[in-house]
Symmetry: C2
Subunit: 233 residues, 2 copies
Amino acid sequence: MTLYQDYPKFLLAVDCIIFGFNGEHLEVLLVKRGFEPEINKWSLMGGFVRENERPEQAADRVLQQLTGLNDVYMELCGAFGEPNRDYAGRVVSICYFALIDSKKTQEIVSEKYEAQWFPISEFPELIFDHNKMVSKARRSLRMKAALYPILFELLPEKFTIPQIIALYEGVYDTALDKRNFIRKLSTSGLLNKTSEKDKSGSKKGAFYYTLNTEVYKEKIMTFLQYLPSWNMD
Amino acid sequence: MTLYQDYPKFLLAVDCIIFGFNGEHLEVLLVKRGFEPEINKWSLMGGFVRENERPEQAADRVLQQLTGLNDVYMELCGAFGEPNRDYAGRVVSICYFALIDSKKTQEIVSEKYEAQWFPISEFPELIFDHNKMVSKARRSLRMKAALYPILFELLPEKFTIPQIIALYEGVYDTALDKRNFIRKLSTSGLLNKTSEKDKSGSKKGAFYYTLNTEVYKEKIMTFLQYLPSWNMD
DNA sequence: ACAAAAGTGTTTGAACTACACCCATGC
DNA sequence: GCATGGGTGTAGTTCAAACACTTTTGT
């Protein structure tokens, strides 16, 4: 079963950068490490790949363990293999970022793991190279979200326009012009307006929208034909 | 030296999707496999990660072995770990795409390896899941090149505008409007016009340009601030 | 002189920017 | 009735798309 006797073997980890949106802020889900080394320090959720698993499956499993969620949007965003990155062994880590509505996890998180959502702009120092992983994931997320409307993966079934704006502002760490952004959204065909209002954030209340999943899938699946837009500042 | 005794270990490979541009067409560099299994079939250039190497280093090394080139633009574009993807053992492969001027490799390629450039639109069936890897790499390349002018990595020091156009047309598999594209290029600040002409392609001859590396680096380094452009067809 | 590719300019419509006011409601 | 955030409209500008002809030079 192997012609490759002479080559070294590695422990293979997956680490998940779990981005969430709680209706107001972009956040990242971290766990307090329950084992040595670096026990009790903040870390990304991760785990080792099993013998009969693909790395993506391992990432799904690990995410499911922590959050209880399946079918989560997840994407490769890095491979970290510095020989001494983990003090306890030679481990290569494959990183994925995941996008979830953080509200969906509120009961489940913190049962087995000490997990906590942190604002993306202010989270603690992490073990090993996990801070680098988060940076890389943020860059990947910005890039992908610039071309595909994947940030809707972070929103609940029903969401308001002020929420989408807050979400994009969080991801790109910038202020947007509401009016222009709303126009862009409404001409995109991605939104279905409902008659319900969310009154929690204001007296007037903001209409709930749902995602037009046909349009969404189409835009997500589109294989880029051509659009260099690198004439920007 | 290890608290992680109970976890399985894996052979770790890197595979390089080597994109090249020969002045006319986009192409991909393939090798005829020199060892079992699947000896003598076409394959991506790859190799196993060594004990004291980062995966990126392994990719650099493998690319250097084949082409003699260092400091090549390279980017992660996949992790393939299907348990039976390699018939001869449990191997997880980390994929990188590389961008090089294929002219730089013409003497070196085919010394040790039977390597050959193939047009991207017409290359042979590859071993294992390597065809999938190429598809993934093409998608990654399109995505990155839509936001950053990385395709200049494929061009020689001096290049002509018709070459850039052919390059973009090859990457996006589409026809471009010359005039509009030239305008975009000239307003980008990326080009320095020289007084030399390339007369090989036509009687009139096309002016050579060089890359304005300051502008280029700036555009490459820019951390996306904000530009959802997903209102496209 | 003619073939073959390089290179140039204008017009039109669409999209983005910038900007200010009214709306609905709870208190 | 007023404070609070939600939502709408318009004018100016920039940018992308569509489009055809002139230039250079080798043969």
